[in-house]
């Protein structure tokens, strides 16, 4: 298995900041989803919350390994050691990101099916993880799978908007369309690194929409508590 890195050199560091911002945005949603689950004990909320938690952790883990890479590149004197650490940290960072993000997205996809069948979930997970880790370019295949999951997830949120027309459902649908577009750009980053940058910018827009929705959801209660 090869470990290609798609980020242009000048973007290394900015992507860490962006991924930490995505994790912070998700943290707000995860905490609230946990609160909603504790109150309602609704299974779909629990699955959605776990999915988002894994996505959040995947960003954090990748950022930590990228920070460690920068630290070793700046502080290690030996060129060989630098190369070794670079490979080890990039390997661990990329693979843990792929595993966690893949499981997180599959859980959200499973939630959209609205069926209680653990076999479906396990089958998708087994097939996707096996295919990703036996392919020569795991990150490439992961982005392809993630894009496919996100097509169905986005369709679910578009349908949710059509059935329940409101500003909040529209914002969520737009946010997931942006995450879908971001992942589609990551597929092409294997040939053109600029797509990796565009993908991150699209993801940033998506998480800003998610945060906007969260503010709208929480604002009502703050108003109510004041009155």
């Amino acid at each position: 298995m090869l470990l290609p890195y798609f980020s242009p050199g000048w973007f290394f560091g900015y992507d860490i900041i962006l991924e930490l911002l995505f994790a912070v945005a998700l943290l707000f949603i995860v905490i609230f989803a946990h609160k909603v689950y504790k109150t309602t004990t609704q299974r779909s909320v629990q699955i959605f919350g776990i999915g988002l938690t894994l996505m959040m952790i995947s960003y954090i883990v990748q950022s930590i390994f990228n920070i460690l890479t920068i630290y070793e590149l700046q502080n290690n004197i030996s060129f060989l050691s630098k190369a070794q650490y670079y490979l080890i940290f990039q390997f661990l960072g990329t693979y843990s990101h792929i595993i966690l993000m893949n499981i997180g997205l599959v859980l959200i996809l499973y939630m959209t099916f609205k069926v209680e069948n653990i076999k479906i979930l396990l089958t998708i997970l087994a097939v996707s993880l096996f295919a990703i880790f036996t392919y020569d370019f795991p990150f490439y295949l992961f982005t392809v799978f993630a894009t496919i999951y996100l097509v169905f997830i986005s369709l679910y949120f578009i349908k949710n908007y059509i059935n329940n027309r409101s500003k909040k459902t529209l914002i969520v649908a737009i946010a997931f369309i942006f995450i879908l577009l971001a992942n589609a750009h990551f597929i092409f980053s294997i040939n053109h690194q600029i797509f990796y940058v565009i993908g991150h910018i699209l993801e940033l827009i998506a998480y800003l929409f998610i945060l906007w929705n969260f503010i709208l959801v929480r604002r009502y209660d703050k108003k109510k508590r004041k009155t």
Binding site: A33, V36, Q42, S44, Y156, F157, S166, T169, N213, D221
Partner: protein
Amino acid sequence: MIRKRERLEIIHDILVAIKDKRDTAKPTHILYKSNLSHQMLMEYINELVKKEFIVEKIDKENKKTYSLTQKGFDYLADYESIKSFIESYGL
């Protein structure tokens, strides 16, 4: 999905019925306000007592009454947010 949303609303209606009765309501009053069958109401009441949203008391006439706990008040305060979150993501 619809069944769960209704469940949230039923719990909300029961808690509001208690709150509106100066936070001390008899089962008959809750039954009237929540528009449920007696059996269904008692299932919800038992669940709410178990979850510590309401507390059961005995009044001077030796009859059962129900009052909201802090958790019950918190639920009412967060109800719109919870409902809004569930609708936003189609959960």
